[in-house]
């Protein structure tokens, strides 16, 4: 089985762990293994408001350097935040001589002990941006191929009308991320079509859900999420598909607050792209993590597809 280095990030290991399980299971069915790094740290999530730029780079570049030192060329992640911070740091190091020199000088002097990696200063090899950071969706599109996925799926998702939600950091900024067009992306649509689902067009798919304002200004985030949800629901979506644990949380769990602030907003389940993939790859419903949702997706899914494997009596 093909093995690919995999960086889960904090959310997917803890609070959003139920979204990781279907990714691992579906990958296996598609013939590759998401091999979690032996040791990893926080990616930094966002650039902090610090004038000392180098500190933004230390965490992600240390992760990427370790990946390179263990001989991997590709690193896959399934969280938009991790993807953004790792990819942007990588871009920075690849394009700025100054940043590359500074971050390597820092890392050379502050090497953590790793029993599986060289750790003397002489052994240190400058990290030059060698690793390719890939979103799992990107890996599925560019390495596995959506056509291959269309061939391998065991459950046809036809009848399920899904609204893709891109949010902010998966695509932007375009010149550093380059995953897809920032104005007219198609990667999630193409992915869902490959799985046999129907996609729903609505104007809010690249409009921010409020991101971390969920912590500081929950009402603001709720307003943005209510726009997204109402628009998708109005266009007849059965569910919204996301690729970021924070989008997932804001859109799913915030529906409680939304229903209080904006009575009459239709409730709609939120699905992580890994869950949709898992459904198409015929994973057992107990592996899809539906029990952790605020809005239970099972009725919608069942109505469209009939009962899922192992499902029906949770």
């Amino acid at each position: 089985m093909t093995r690919v280095a995999y960086y889960p990030g904090c959310a997917l290991k803890e609070r959003s762990a139920h979204l990781e399980r279907p990714a691992l299971g579906a990958a296996e069915k598609l013939g590759f293994e998401l091999d979690e790094l032996d040791s990893w740290t926080c990616c930094g999530a966002v650039p902090p408001p610090s004038e000392e730029r180098i500190m933004n780079l230390v965490a992600p570049i240390r992760i990427l350097k370790d990946v390179r030192d263990t001989g991997d060329e590709v690193l896959v992640t399934i969280c938009d935040f991790c993807y953004n911070s790792l990819k942007r740091a990588n871009h920075r190091v690849s394009t700025s001589d100054l940043d590359r020199k500074r971050v390597n000088a820092f890392l050379r002097e502050n090497q953590p002990k790793r029993d599986y990696l060289p750790s003397t200063e002489e052994d240190y090899r400058d990290y030059l941006g060698e690793v390719q950071v890939m979103h799992l969706l990107e890996y599925l599109r560019d390495v596995v191929g959506f056509e291959e996925i269309a061939q391998s799926r065991s459950t046809e998702l036809s009848g399920l009308r899904l609204a893709p939600y891109y949010g902010c950091v998966m695509l932007r900024p375009e010149d550093e991320i380059g995953l897809d067009s920032v104005e007219n992306p198609t990667i999630i649509e193409d992915f869902l079509v490959a799985l046999g689902a129907e996609t729903v067009a609505y104007p809010y798919r690249t409009v921010c859900c409020g991101s971390y304002l969920s912590v500081s200004f929950p009402e603001s985030s709720a307003r943005l999420c209510s726009n997204i949800i109402s628009s998708a629901a109005e266009k007849g979506a059965d569910a919204i598909v996301v690729s970021c644990p924070l989008c997932f949380y804001n859109l799913d769990s915030r529906q409680k607050m939304i229903s209080e602030l904006y009575p009459g907003t239709k409730s709609i389940p939120i699905l992580y792209f890994t869950q949709v993939l898992g459904m198409a790859m015929d994973l057992d419903i107990s592996d899809l993590g539906f029990d952790k949702h605020y809005v239970d997706p099972e009725p919608v899914v069942e109505k469209a597809l009939g009962s899922l494997k192992g499902g029906g009596s949770r």
């Binding site: 904090c10 930094g44 408001p49 971390y212 924070l246 949380y249």
Partner: protein, 145 residues
């Protein structure tokens, strides 16, 4: 929130060369690695900003005040804290200004004045227990010292 946001009057801006081409703009330019004067007020950043409705100053107004060296007005605005760093403004700016970065630096400047805008005590504990970590990490990195 600082006093500026609740101020219902609109006092006149007093301009002089010290102010409009003074240290504030230079420092902002160097910290953000952007050229603030490149902004020609097309308004595209505001048009596309999902949080504009929550702001007291539109992003383009923030840019304009910054060009005029009006540090008090922008550093005391609600806008810089409501920005969700979604980068929509940055990718659409016709002059290629990373406006989100400018917002980041304004937050940093405000924080440097000595107040944590957002401390652990301000978050609803139930919320804190649920929000995925990237949300918490980002919020604290963006909004506190």
């Amino acid at each position: 929130m600082a006093e500026g946001a609740d101020n219902e009057t609109t006092p006149r801006l007093r301009l002089d060369r010290e102010k409009v081409r003074g240290e504030f703009g230079k420092r902002l330019d160097s910290l953000s690695e952007q050229h603030i004067l490149a902004c020609y007020q097309c308004g595209n950043c505001s048009s596309g900003c999902p949080l504009a409705e929550e702001m007291d100053l539109l992003p383009s107004t923030v840019m304009h005040l910054v060009q005029l060296g009006q540090s008090e007005a922008v550093l005391n605005s609600r806008s810089i804290w409501v920005c969700a760093s979604c980068l929509q403004c940055t990718v659409r700016c016709p002059k290629g200004i990373d406006i989100q970065k400018v917002m980041d630096v304004l937050r940093q400047m405000a924080l440097a004045e000595g107040i944590d805008h957002f401390g652990p005590d301000q978050v609803d504990p139930r919320n804190a227990a649920e929000v995925p970590q990237p949300g918490l990490v980002s919020a604290y990195r963006k909004l506190s010292t």
